[in-house]
């Protein structure tokens, strides 16, 4: 009973989901604005951790699960830096067991 469940790293989790990369950028961040962002909510809200911080905001749209929550928190709590739309038709994430 005491054994700890195997930790599921996020990378491991994301490797289980199929993505079809959209060549058109569907997330664009004005990262200059992020420098002034105090709360950086995007770093916490995204269940796929599309966003990370190393001296500046970095983002990797491959892995995006298209919740759209980053846009809301960025505009209401953050620096209004994120532009977001769904990937083109047929592109992006595809859930088999959602």
């Amino acid at each position: 009973m005491s054994e700890k469940q195997e930790e599921m790293s996020l990378d491991k989790r994301l490797a289980l989901v199929s993505f079809n990369k959209d060549s058109e950028p569907f997330i664009v961040v004005d990262t200059k604005l992020c420098q002034q962002c105090e709360r950086k909510p995007c770093l916490y809200i995204c269940p796929a951790q599309v966003y990370n911080w190393q001296d500046q905001l970095n983002y990797n749209t491959e892995g995006c699960m298209e919740t759209g929550a980053c846009l809301i928190v960025c505009h209401k709590i953050g620096a209004k830096a994120i532009s977001w739309k769904y990937p083109s038709g047929g592109k992006g994430v595809s859930f088999r067991l959602g």
Partner: protein, 465 residues
Amino acid sequence: MGRWGDERERRCVALTLHLRTDRPRAKPDKPRDGIKERELSLEGFEVAVVGAGPAGSAAALTLAREGVQVLLVERGTFPGSKNVFGGRIYSYALKRLLGERWKDAPVERFVRKEGITFMTADSSFSVEYESKDPTGSFTSIRSKFDKWLAEEAEKAGASLITDSRVDDLVLERGIVKGIIAGPDKIPTDAVIACDGTTTNLARKAGLASMLEPREVSIGMKDVIELPADKMEERLGLEPEEGAAHVFVGECSGGLRGGGFLYTNKDSLALGMVVGADDISTKKVPSHTLMDRLRNHRKVRRLIRDGKTIEYDAHMIPEAGPKMLTRPYTGGMLVAGDAAGHLLNNGYTFRGVDMAIVSGIAAAQTILEARKRKDYSAQSLQTYERRLREEPALKDMYTFSKVPRYLRNNRLYNVYPELVCNAAEAIYRVDGNRKRKIYKELRTQTKGKVSTISLIRDLLAGARTF
């Protein structure tokens, strides 16, 4: 308007291609008139339904059945491929849409057992209910369910195109006259927007502004493969029966939200739903809550030796129908998640049933308007009345104060612990003097919550639920 003028006659090449090359379609129940013409062009559709989720497919099916030329547009490679939910569908909505044919639905398990667990880091208090009739709801998988429902709409005569993102509306003097998908403009008499929580189309039509973080939650889930007999043994289920369980307390780390568990045929859907405002302001990376849930002793033994086979996430609107200023405008209706048609009252989570019922209501409104040949906002305003009079959707208005009540963080960081500690005090016999239960309860609340807050929360709860 001149901008659209020269495009008006243009053929919709890209979309036409999809219509031709789409996967083999189910044979329609009755022959469809004009199908040849439609395969050559996307003109001539009376109604475009955007989004082939439960709301969209229910609307398209209801319209097609009455002979309306309906185009159902889906951005995923197949209906359901973009959709995620906890795991359960209430059957009544499907019965209403399909009659006896609802039994063809891709059911994982009918839900026999309902349960809730209040948890601290190292203790838990669970309540379980075993229903005499499990057919009232079933677990399902969206890639199967949504696909099946869209096929039902196709059988009724609707035309489905996939891989198509609708970017904009065709607006003429503020009236919606069609949709724009990539390079293609598709003129229609009316549009039903079932485009989900982010509802681009309701925003384009001026019916919604951006939601507030407190009005949405993030849902995440692991699908964990587990042999059926093992699952049934662990959850105390007869073969093929299912369970639904809710977790409150430690798993959300005090944030507004909780965990859920649903049984599929041979997998468990285990997930968390947490308020976007709480995650952002308390700076808890959302996905770490999954590990918190998985590692709780109550959950750990349920999923032991299970293999995680998928990780999904989705955004959930929590504001109810007031997320739109109104669910209609000239030429357009909004249904499903896009219109806030879902209900989380803390112990039941309803989305798919409400989406289906609101999709039907939207279709019926269009059918009436079609008879009048009038799709103006004034003509379509009967939709709002339908929504309010529809018994299933009425629940949204009955429980309209629930979202505000559920924003009380004591529900997540005080009361679960209180319940567990009280149980500990009641059940523990250690040779020290035992006190009567009410005295024990009083002691437990000390320093955690004032009597006034406790009474206020109880009274508000009684009024809200």
